[in-house]
Subunit: 190 residues, 2 copies
Amino acid sequence: MIKYPIKKELNKKRVNYGNRGIDFENAINESNKFYLTQDIAIIYKKPTPIRVVDVSYPSRNKAMITKAFYVTPSTTDYNGIYKGYYIDFETKETNSKTSMPLKIVHQHQIKHLERVSRHGAISFLLVYFKKLDAIYLLETKYLLKFNKRQATGRKSISLEEFKTFGYQVKTGYNPQIDYLGTVDQIIKKN
Amino acid sequence: MIKYPIKKELNKKRVNYGNRGIDFENAINESNKFYLTQDIAIIYKKPTPIRVVDVSYPSRNKAMITKAFYVTPSTTDYNGIYKGYYIDFETKETNSKTSMPLKIVHQHQIKHLERVSRHGAISFLLVYFKKLDAIYLLETKYLLKFNKRQATGRKSISLEEFKTFGYQVKTGYNPQIDYLGTVDQIIKKN
């Protein structure tokens, strides 16, 4: 199923988590801006793929798209370079306090993460547990394990499993979400 | 200035170069598909960034964008991973038989190539001389040199300079444009 960003934008509910909630996507993008301006890493969100059908030219040099459709992305949302490593990750949010349902991660995204990981990337899933205001990073090798388990077992990854196999990512002011601090731990471990 | 892909698509002239011309962008994309299916590399073209203004829902689950605009991309067109290296490049075409005008490479793209290169990427410009039906790969370090020269000297990179400082890329059936064969030479050299 295709995720329509604009729909999300338009329908976004202003839920108040008692000062705890963050705009996850925006916080990731701001963190990437910080990493970029500090010359720490060059990581960008990929634009949403759109199939353009009709374009008009209301004024010179100004193309206006008048008919277009969202296309299912082939890859993950973010990639780039950090300390010479190719970095690739997908971000997900969940309202659950106890687990992340695996159905919110598309199989083509898991396939992509598996591929880049096998070719030497540092790749992972970054999950925001909104109600807990906690972010966990889970490396692709564990995501693959839990994805495989679905065939015979539970169809989600429990919070306990994120704690055991993943890392909680530090949040703060600048960067708001210091996921590269976590990547440093991964680099050190390998 | 923003490059409008749809305009290019719609206005594309069917010029006949006596059986010599290729659809450069398509040939790159097909080469990337080949690299992907052969499990050689995972390299994708980034979608063109589009700012969506209005969306309608003519049928359930089918969002139709009715007003949107092209946005200047912050980065290059292609990136991915090959042999553990972060790969990043921009493609350009020229009708000239003798040089590539530097004005067709945007300064923000040059800045991006400089950044990723400094962080350990293999990054380059891939230039198709249409009338010669020849493709040259020029590493970022030389692109930066010639970009700098603009201030006091010529505002283009001559074909001779591509031959001296760059590599001619082999073309064929599968992959149509074997630019990773050239990247192998770069890896071996370093």
